[in-house]
Symmetry: D2
Subunit: 325 residues, 4 copies
């Protein structure tokens, strides 16, 4: 059977609700609108039933929806960074003495996958200064380190092995992992930030066989931050087919021959049709805005600013920019 | 009405034939198979009817289809470069004294559009050496210059203005323009090279409002070389819908109510459905392999080698590499 | 005889004065200190004698000296951009309707030479908008276009040919050329901006055989903006030798044998010694800070902001950043 | 006292011999000339006296001198890679089952320091394939992994901590570290490859306060491979001064007043003079060819090919290129 891939909890919930005509069990949703053009949605999975229905572990999943042209407006970018910092701070439990390791997942050579490494290049790194020149560094500055471990194909080493090795040596109190995601809907591509306190689980995206990065594998709390930068081409094909079928199902008499035929295509043949459409190409096909290079650059600035603000509660954006230059 | 975008003449012909159940007038097609895994198709538009049916000017359009994994196999890449050089040489009318200007169209900041500029960076540039140190340069070396004019959004200047300005000063005998294209079929993405002797026309791709680069605007013969690096997301949506409708039309009784409804969706509503699917995003949505960065790099090597071989008939690939390093 | 290379007029004047124990004729110098850490020096060459003594054409050469750590402090960077915009505006004769073409000279593949192209990538380009969507563009916005023509070795075409070709087609009222320079003193590297209204002359840097870009060759007023990013290694060698000789000459009895020997080394053998030191390497040897990549990036931001402010007098930095994103 | 920095053992030996008018104790030198334009010199430090005289630990230091224009000639590059592979193989004790981790030291944002990370990007990485799809990988292929840990300023973590963490998890049998070096002589810049079996020691380059990467800190044999990409600007200043002094000392009567004065400058004042020349700049000043970007790219190809050949004795360069594409 064809399965839609999404890394976003809000979409997993939508998909469950639409497929089962009911909300998943043990899942609580709260919305907040800090600015009229920014929405913060918190999806909390509270028990094992929710875990099963949602296909992801117990925990909080915060989604920040930002305006369409955020990446073309410095002022909006800063507001989103601040909203993000606010959400992140609540999960972190602001503690200026916390030693945090920020990990940028993904392949720096593949633009839609380069979000993590690009965020890392803009993180305010202070751990070494606190150790080497403690007298010159304000005591309110928190120790932060940062690493882009690369991907299995480039290093020959599972990401979790590299990160665990570094964690064992540097003993951070907290890990933040940044990653590019796939979403289910085009309108969320580069428009949504997801923050969760569950780390990165193997099953979070369906095709994502990567090993988990979480408190079980690393021994430290792991916060995951992601932004969808692509939609699978198969998802677009699926949605196109659904749209036609829905259109016709609306017209057809329920239970009639035509109606049943439409339902049967939906159930049995859709996967085959999608495969027929896309199978000719070996590689992963993605749908992305043409300007993906420019957008990933801007997104990475929003995310890094948000992380820097949350990790350094005694500084504002201006202080941070000053430090970074 | 929704219109499928393609920059490839072979696809324009396929689309015409499939829509009208007949071949376009005045269009001659010849195929050649120089290696069992490489196919060369020459589509010649010979008169005004063909021009109208095909939506592109009278001239020759050569398509080279290469094997699926060309970009992962240096030996195949070289064979494709040689086949391409051979086709190109025939159009050029090999003349070692010809002064050629190679133009790399497209935006170097947008990976799927960066093919032209990347090819330029690998062209064997000799014009200045012929002028400055003629005694040290073998007389068989042809004078070649190369330019990446950028795109309107980056320069504020129409590409044709920049190129015409440079042509007026440097007076080349021949211009070769390299550009990234959009194709209609995923299986042609990064798998097809199109060479034509008609230059680049404004109507070649439907959404392509760029001004023409051809003998009329530049005063010199213009050869266009392109490789499709993307498919419009709208094309995938369209194909998905077609596939479902075709599937059902096959089953439905011709002339019956159901049959008519399907036909009517096809005709009247498809455009609206596609818009509904994709309209949420402002930018151009494209479908591309995830590894587009790596592939564009390899394609640009194949193309630049092909051009270098065709422009320097007295050299082989080894000589050219030696010169380039 | 060994000749020291400098592209800076202030240094040419220093060198003349020190060699001849008098100031060059017809050269007027004015200093201004807009901020306590920024100095603006205007060297005006007013007649042919000055031209000969200074080795550069009649005109104004403004030098802005900025604080040592400018590139690590966003606030200082903005102040320098504003001082630069102010100096540039006076030369331009602020006229919002002026159509300006900004040219970024240099090779984008060679970091110390990449200043020009990097500035171009941050110029606020508006010419096409004024032509294509005049109703949507504030009438106070001036038309600006921008081009990085590359270098002779990459294009096979003299820069002046490319620029002249584009000028003939686009008919700008003013040209601004940005280039990386060589200075004579390490303390000026990346610390000095030179603005001149004379364009770029072939003799400005001694080893610089490039053809001129000025009102004679282009038919339009050309303003040159440059920042020294390197010192020739030969200059360092020369200075080291001078320092030792000076040290000893101070001690030696004037006219004595030792004194004469020192003077003779200075005059006759210095060139040979420097050649002996450096000749083993084919290429141009330069002295540069190790972090040249990072610094060139920051310098290019200061320069592009300065140009944007001067060309768009109705906008401030915030407006410009908003437009650029 | 001013101290010349070199990371090359052959230069340390030259400097010792020239300063003490005798060869260092316990140091054995062997030369080999595999091609008329390539020289291999093996400096073996055999005891503690040699260790003290040479300022580096007991072990073998192999230097490969290559022709001046290697980087402009693919054929010479391949010959150098093969000579390097041969030297490296002898140190490794070819054993196809060895599990090797290749580490690329240095900062990818600073061109002269980016050699290590660029080599890593061209290493044939196989460890994951041996683990994930052992049946599809020829048993003669050795498991290799690769990592660019970044630099302290970018990560906040000492390189040795990152590497030790990864070593603990992945348990390689051998580590190869690649790094950009500083040399003492311009003619060795980008012309010399040093291979040593002692790892990277804190005292190897005088200003190099980095912690050691060797068998003591990592628990596994560490081979260091380096190429000098710069000379300290201070070294050039020093050499210039020496050259003048030597010139005069030759002329002066031994023991005379002038002679003594020259000797005294040499001993007591040279450091002050150099500082006077260079102290105006905060950062590290380096001397480097202007085309450093292009050269580092070529050097990294020579080194990565050499490593790939040595680690995969069953493959030739063609096999390796095929695998890499």
């Amino acid at each position: 059977m064809f399965e839609i891939r999404t890394d976003l909890a809000v979409e997993a919930r939508e998909m469950y609700s639409s497929a089962h005509n009911k909300d998943p069990e043990g899942v609580i949703v709260k919305e907040d609108i800090p600015y009229e053009d920014i929405k913060v949605t918190k999806v909390s999975i509270t028990n094992e039933e929710g875990e099963k229905d949602m296909g992801r572990p117990i925990g909080d999943y915060i989604t920040i929806d930002m305006p369409e042209f955020t990446y073309y407006d410095g002022e909006t970018m800063n507001r989103v960074s601040e909203v993000m910092a606010d959400s992140l701070s609540k999960i972190i439990n602001k503690d200026k003495h916390k030693n945090t390791l920020v990990i940028g997942l993904g392949n720096w050579n593949v633009t839609p996958d380069a979000l993590g490494p690009r965020v890392i290049s803009k993180i305010m790194v202070t751990r070494h200064l606190k150790e080497l020149i403690p007298d010159k560094i304000d005591e309110n500055i928190a120790p932060v380190s940062a690493l882009s471990p690369g991907v299995l194909g480039l290093t020959g080493i599972e990401t979790v092995e590299i990160v665990k090795g570094v964690v064992d040596k540097t003993k951070p109190d907290l890990i933040i992992c940044v990653d590019a995601l796939a979403s289910r809907r085009l309108e969320r591509v580069n428009r949504t930030i997801q923050i969760s306190d569950t780390g990165i689980s193997p099953g979070s995206g369906l095709k994502n066989h990567r090993k988990a990065l979480n408190v079980e594998t690393l021994g430290v709390k792991v916060i995951a931050i992601g932004v969808p930068t692509v939609v699978d081409a198969a998802t677009i094909a699926n949605d196109s087919i659904d749209l036609v079928l829905d259109e016709m199902i609306k017209e057809a008499t329920k239970g009639g021959e035509f109606y049943n035929m439409l339902k049967s295509i939906d159930k049995n043949e859709k996967g085959r049709l999608i495969e027929e459409l896309l199978s000719s190409k070996g590689g992963d096909l993605i749908v992305t805005p043409k300007e993906v290079d420019i957008i990933v650059d801007s997104v990475s600035r929003v995310i890094s600013n948000g992380i820097n603000l949350a990790l350094q509660p005694s500084l504002d954006l201006e202080d941070i920019n000053q430090f970074m230059n």
